[in-house]
């Protein structure tokens, strides 16, 4: 099911003019705060009437302002996970989960309900009131509630933004499971590069109400020109497969034929992963490194050098594992004579890769 969106809308201080197609998988609307991401999602949900728009989900036209067509929110097969959960405070978790089928007077399929409850790990919370849940638990229930309304499309508006780091790490695997198991396409809004790197199949970059870039996640994120949330967030995403776990707490991965050492990952050997490598964690060296503590060294050639306005530069390096980005100083670029075609080694500290940089992957990147 493909979602196609074309809309213009004027908000105070922002004029939005956006057109994109979201294929199966997770499409991330990526950009800074205040660039109109939530407005787009609200228009898809039917919570906002855009000035002019044509929005189509599969074969169903949801909005066509020219034809005067606007399907009201409750008649759209669209689930919505809000940033702040929005659970109904007067209903317990179980009643919140079943709210969708109840108001639509659908028969409740206990197998489907149990599957969602199990997938999100909320079986122990069913009798609780939302006020008695932690932030992460609330968000899991909100995701389950949206899924059980039987949506053809799931909208996620900054689903992790209100959570602290441990809670984010708690939710992300569930979102990956939904992406890989539930088969519901998702339109996801985020200003976090790490979150987009972990979830997105397709990335739509928004800046000041305009789409500045659309493409497959690995491609868009590996493009140094794409840094909507600042240069600190630049990083590449590569595909890798777990080979084995070593006794000293490391996991060995295979990335395009090169061994990659990571802190122990939770997944079993054979599982495909996507690993986000932040540009500022990569060191470049002309000679193969010797006597260095860093465990990972990937031989490659420089593909592109982008000098920043400040002291920094972003160097794209093609390696067998995929394109990596390195954020180094302009002085280093000059000293090493880095230019397209120059052979070099990308060096990466094992411990620089945090657990939230590693996600499961179902062949979307490979």
């Amino acid at each position: 099911m493909t979602l196609s969106v074309a809309l213009t809308h004027t908000l105070p201080g922002l004029s939005l003019d956006v057109a994109f197609e979201a294929p199966a998988g997770v499409t991330s609307l990526f950009g800074r705060s205040g660039t109109g991401k939530t407005t787009v999602v609200n228009a898809v949900a039917g919570l906002l009437r855009p000035d002019s728009a044509r929005i189509k989900l599969g074969s169903e036209v949801l909005v066509d302002t020219e034809a005067g067509l606007f399907v009201p929110a409750h008649k759209r097969a669209v689930g919505y996970v809000f940033q702040e959960g929005r659970l109904f405070p007067h209903l317990d978790v179980h009643a919140n989960l079943l709210y969708g089928p109840r108001v639509k007077r659908q028969t409740i399929d206990p197998v489907a309900v149990n599957h969602v409850i199990e997938m999100l790990g909320i079986g122990g919370l069913l009798k609780r009131n939302p006020a008695a849940l932690s932030g992460g638990e609330k968000q899991r229930v909100a995701i389950g509630r949206a899924l059980l309304s039987d949506p053809s499309l799931l909208l996620l508006d900054e689903p992790l933004a209100a959570l602290d780091e441990p809670r984010k790490a708690e939710i992300l695997p569930y979102l990956e499971r939904i992406r890989d198991e539930a088969g519901v396409p998702m339109l996801h809004v985020s200003h976090s590069a790490a979150e987009v790197a972990r979830l997105a199949t397709t990335v739509v970059v928004l800046d000041a109400g305009q789409v500045t870039r659309i493409g497959p996640a690995a491609e868009v994120l590996a493009d140094p020109a794409v840094a909507p949330t600042g240069v600190r967030d630049v990083g590449a995403v590569i595909a890798a497969q777990v080979v084995r776990h070593h006794d000293d707490g490391l996991s060995e991965l295979d990335a395009g034929g090169t061994a990659l050492m990571l802190p122990r990952v939770a997944q079993a050997p054979g599982v495909h992963l996507r690993v986000r490598i932040a540009a500022h964690d990569v060191i470049l060296s002309l000679a193969p490194p010797e006597g260095l503590s860093a465990l990972n060294s990937l031989a490659g050639t420089v593909a592109e050098v982008r000098l920043g306005d400040g002291p920094g530069a972003i160097v794209s390096v093609d390696t067998p594992a995929g394109r990596l980005l390195a954020r180094i100083t302009r002085r280093s670029v000059a000293r090493l004579g880095l230019a397209p075609g120059v052979a070099c080694h990308a060096i990466l500290k094992t411990v620089a890769i945090a657990p939230q940089d590693v996600g499961v992957e179902t062949g979307i990147l490979a």
């Binding site: 929110a73 409750h74 929005r86 405070p89 007067h90 709210y99 108001v103 006020a131 309304s149």
Partner: protein, 230 residues
């Protein structure tokens, strides 16, 4: 109850009945008007707000007189209704109408405040889950504003119990027919030796008012616990 004379007892019973009927009949309208004022955008919203609040500001005698003009047997609304066999003037039903009208602004204010306290984002969330407007109201808004509705109803009941000016102007002070508790207190105070009876009714007024207040507190607290401190 031997402590009360038959006439006093009659006034108490009539007042309870008038206040109860006035509250129950006006409650659905109160919720509707409160919802309209809190959430709907429509022309004439300010006018509706003004009309609803008018009985609060006008002298009750004026309201009673206006009721008499419109709902009296020769009035523009009273006359056709009388042809249908429905009369208000000088009947207990008229006392209900007067009490309901006088209590309406208080009821609407309490309910409106509670509706405005409900986060519209919750109603949006309900819509995305498939609930139409009416369903959003009955499954989300209504349960969340229940404490406000109870508070509004109790307030209206207490006001209706004590309504005097509009009632006596519209339906007079006929024992057994339209003599409510306040009218009876007034009547007893007009005759020599009526003070003990008036005092008994005053005590009953205080007891009923206190009981209503406590009842609303307990009920509101129980509902608030049920809705999880929303």
């Amino acid at each position: 109850m031997e402590w009360l004379g038959p006439e006093e007892w009659q006034a108490v019973r009539l007042s309870l009945r008038v206040a109860l009927v006035a509250t129950l009949v006006s409650l659905p309208f109160g919720v509707l008007v409160a919802h309209a004022l809190a959430r709907w955008e429509f022309p004439g919203r300010g006018l509706l707000n003004g009309i609803v609040h008018l009985p609060l500001i006008l002298p009750p005698v004026v309201t009673g007189y206006l009721l008499l003009l419109t709902f009296g047997t020769q009035g523009p609304i009273g006359k056709p209704l009388a042809a249908l066999g429905i009369t208000f003037a000088f009947r207990w039903t008229g006392a209900v109408l007067a009490a309901a009208l006088m209590a309406f602004p208080l009821m609407v204010r309490a309910i409106r405040l509670s509706i405005e306290a409900v986060d519209p984002k919750l109603e949006d969330a309900a819509a995305t889950l498939g609930a139409g407007r009416l369903q959003v109201f009955t499954t989300v808004t209504l349960p969340l504003i229940l404490p406000g509705i109870i508070a509004g109803a109790i307030l209206a009941f207490a006001k209706a119990m004590g309504e005097f000016g509009a009632t006596i102007t519209f339906v007079s002070n006929i024992p057994g027919q339209t003599q409510t508790l306040p009218s009876a207190v007034y009547a007893f105070l007009q005759v020599p030796g009526g003070e003990p009876a008036a005092m008994r009714l005053v005590i009953i007024s205080i007891v009923v008012a206190m009981a209503a207040l406590l009842f609303s507190e307990v009920l509101a607290r129980r509902v608030a616990r049920r809705v999880g401190g929303a």
